[in-house]
């Protein structure tokens, strides 16, 4: 095991992720068997549909909001953007949309620096929802569609379609301010979709939605991604991100600290064992090297083992205490990986 940090492509330091709660075990990405260097995409056929955020930095006075933020979102991909409050997600998205200027770094679309023309093809849902409060939902969508370049007829058709699709067709002639928060949110998503965008950038699209709306929203995002649209969204609902996203990026203090497919991130995390041995007394794992007890309730113990530790040795120890009803090997959930990252932040 090599004790040094290794950069994960352009995504910052994946190595930090591997740091376990108690032990400072740091692995290079080579250990977990993933491609370290991502091929540059310019010139490749994929360059057409990639949104690249390249070493973007931004300060507010003394506050560093972003420092060398870098990741990319590819065609047909659902990219989950997670990080604790104030990590820099919104700042990144606002820079992508050009409503905020970066101090340095570049945002590219299809290999070229992004400009107003390409930004028009982005569907954006800002964190602070924004629609004209006194305008009717339908009129508002038509207006936004037209501003993005649709003809009036196309804009009307598209607005009707999305209101229907998102389950707010009955509210089309109501003023937005008279809608419930969740319904405003649906109209807001419709506003991001009405001009048939080729990229979707959504800042916390799931906050404030009921479970049915969450399902509708998820389905729409999946469908858009399947249609070849790169979709990036931020969220604090990690189970949702885990379920939906092909890739996730975890931000901490303005830097991307982990950025990969969910399964790979999880696979790279520490191995967990769940053991149900009803007759095992407290401290039955005490003699085992590289094994830590995370939780023990009603004879069920959750253990974390270091890489290279043989799980069969643990099973043997469990059997030695009596019958074993359950023995499962697990990977940490995204939420647990995330907590590790956040606890790293507290330490630093």
């Amino acid at each position: 095991m090599v004790g040094e940090l290794a950069p994960c492509g352009r995504c910052g330091y994946l190595g930090l992720l591997m740091t376990n709660l108690g032990h400072a075990v740091i692995m290079t990405t080579a250990d977990i068997g993933m491609d370290v260097v991502e091929p540059r995409r310019e010139g490749s056929p994929l360059a057409e549909e990639v949104l690249e955020i390249d070493r973007v930095s931004k300060r507010y006075g003394d506050v560093v909001a972003l420092s060398d933020m870098a990741f990319d979102v590819r065609a047909g991909e659902l990219f989950g953007f997670v990080g604790s409050n104030g990590a820099g997600k919104t700042t990144t998205m606002r820079i992508v949309l050009g409503v905020l200027a970066a101090d340095s770094g570049e945002v590219r679309w299809s290999g070229r620096p992004i400009n107003l023309r390409s930004r028009r093809q982005i569907g954006y849902m800002p964190e602070e929802r924004g629609l004209y409060p006194k305008m009717k939902a339908f009129d508002q969508l038509v207006y936004l569609g037209e501003l993005h370049g649709l003809s009036t007829a196309d804009a009307r058709r598209s607005a009707s379609y999305w209101l229907e699709r998102l389950g707010v067709a009955a509210r089309r002639d109501e003023e937005v301010q008279k809608l419930s928060l969740g319904n405003q949110q649906r109209v807001q998503l419709a506003a991001a979709l009405v001009h048939q965008p080729r990229v979707l950038v959504l800042d916390e699209p799931f906050s404030g939605l009921d479970p049915v709306a969450v399902d509708v929203m998820s389905e729409v995002l999946r469908e858009r991604a399947a249609a070849g649209v790169p979709v990036v969204f931020s969220s604090h609902q990690l189970d949702l991100v885990e379920r939906l996203c092909s890739r996730v990026g975890i931000v901490r203090s303005g830097r991307m600290v982990a950025c990969d497919e969910v399964d790979r991130l999880r696979a790279a995390g520490p191995v967990r064992l769940a053991v149900n041995a009803p007759q095992a007394g407290p401290g039955w794992t005490a003699g085992l090297l590289g094994v830590r007890e995370l939780d023990a309730t009603d004879g069920r113990t959750v253990l974390e083992i270091d890489d290279g530790v043989d799980d069969q040795m643990v099973l043997a120890a469990a059997l030695a205490t009596g019958p074993v009803r359950e023995f499962t090997r697990q990977r940490p959930s995204l939420a647990e990986l995330f907590r590790n990252v956040v606890s790293e932040e507290k330490k630093s």
């Binding site: 200027a101 023309r117 800002p126 001009h195």
Partner: protein, 398 residues
């Protein structure tokens, strides 16, 4: 998907603004209210012009015609109050102070008649016939019946001398100056402030973030100013047409050509004034994020024209040749509300009008540049009030 051009973008924004304003209740209410106010004013003006009685002061020999004068004028349908006055000086003072309308002095067959500005035609006719009678009687007494009698009668008539000669249509001009001035002032202020409110609405609802991810700040600003400007123009046209119709049908207005001219040039003044203030007010509005904070930033922009308007309008009506009101009417902030009034009063030479328009155009160019810059820098900064200095200096955004 095609890229909409700048023209289409601005047109879309302007169309939304126009539709929103024109459909709003406040637009309808304010239009009706102004029309009603003008109707009341016109009505009062025409009633006052008809009903008042004429006060005639008599001095010296002419005191003797008091009863005859009253009888003669009442036969012609006019009320006359007579009073005797000590001497000419006293009488003229009373004329100037408005206690008297007409002063009659001297010999009965050749009286001197003095007025402040205009002579009431009925009183003039009555005096003429009385004086002629006196003359005929005098000649008869001297010569008996001779042909010269008629000549003598022909030769005498009353020629009123005005202390302050005045155009008989002065009253209408003054009324017009007031109405045009007030309507312009009201429209420019209302729709200018409406631009500022629109800017803050977009900021407070955060919709500006979505808009500016698609269009440029100046496109949004120009579209908004044009849309709201056209809504205001629509209101001014409605007021002008209805007001003109009312004034003519009530008979209060006997100067149709002149009035139509000054009312239509008022439309031009409205546009100049609106474009002057709109970008400034938009810039002021972009500094704050909540409607409650708006008043504090737009007051400097809205209060100054109020002062200029009130001072300038009163000065130019009471003292047409006052230098202060002339100078005020050439300062771009006040030109659109004062110059039309001075034109209506007939006291603005052409060169001053041309100079006023040129100065306004220059000011519009300057304010648009400045306002556009402040707006573009401040409109995306939500939260605390943006300091003017920061907005001018920093090129945040793109």
């Amino acid at each position: 998907m095609t890229m909409p051009g700048t023209a289409r973008t601005i047109q879309l924004v302007a169309r939304r603004e126009l539709a929103t304003r024109v459909r709003s209740k406040s637009f309808l209410i304010s239009t009706v209210l102004i029309v009603v106010l003008i109707a009341v004013y016109v009505l009062l003006f025409s009633i006052m012009g008809r009903s008042s009685s004429v006060k005639v002061g008599l001095s010296g020999q002419s005191t003797g015609i008091a009863t005859q004068l009253r009888t003669a004028t009442s036969a012609l349908g006019k009320q006359v109050e007579t009073s005797s006055v000590g001497d000419q000086t006293e009488g003229e003072q009373q004329l100037l102070s408005g206690k008297l309308d007409v002063l009659v002095l001297g010999a009965l067959d050749a009286p001197t008649v003095v007025v402040k500005s205009t002579m009431d035609p009925t009183v003039l006719a009555a005096l003429n016939s009385l004086v002629r009678q006196q003359a005929i009687q005098g000649v008869l007494a001297q010569n008996g019946l001779k042909p010269t009698v008629l000549d003598a009668a022909e030769n005498v008539s009353v020629r009123p001398k005005a202390l302050q000669p005045e155009d008989p249509e002065q009253g209408q001009r003054t009324a017009l100056a007031y109405i045009v001035g007030f309507v312009l002032f009201f429209s420019i202020q209302t729709f200018g402030v409406s631009v500022a409110q629109g800017v803050v609405e977009e900021k407070s609802s955060r919709v500006v973030e979505i808009l500016l991810a698609t269009i440029r700040p100046w496109q949004l600003l120009v579209g908004k100013v044009i849309g709201i400007g056209v809504a205001g123009l629509l209101q001014v046209v409605v007021i002008a047409v209805v007001g003109l119709g009312l004034a003519r049908s009530s008979g209060a207005l006997t100067l149709p050509d002149f009035a139509v001219g000054s009312i239509f040039s008022a439309l031009g003044w409205y546009l100049l004034g609106f474009f002057l203030f709109a970008t400034l007010l938009a810039a002021a509005g972009s500094l704050v994020s909540r409607q409650e904070e708006l008043q504090s930033v737009i007051t400097p922009v809205t209060l100054l024209p109020v002062l200029g308007f009130v001072i300038g309008l009163n000065l130019m009506v009471s003292e047409p040749n006052n230098v202060t009101s002339t100078v005020l009417s050439l300062i771009p902030l006040f030109t659109p509300t004062l110059m039309p009034g001075r034109i209506a009063l007939g006291i603005a030479p052409t060169w001053q009008v041309v100079l006023g328009v040129l100065l306004m155009l220059a000011a519009i160019a300057l304010f648009s540049w400045l306002g556009g810059r402040i707006y573009a820098n401040a409109v995306l900064r939500t939260g605390a009030r943006v300091r003017l200095r920061d907005a001018l200096r920093c090129a945040e955004g793109r």
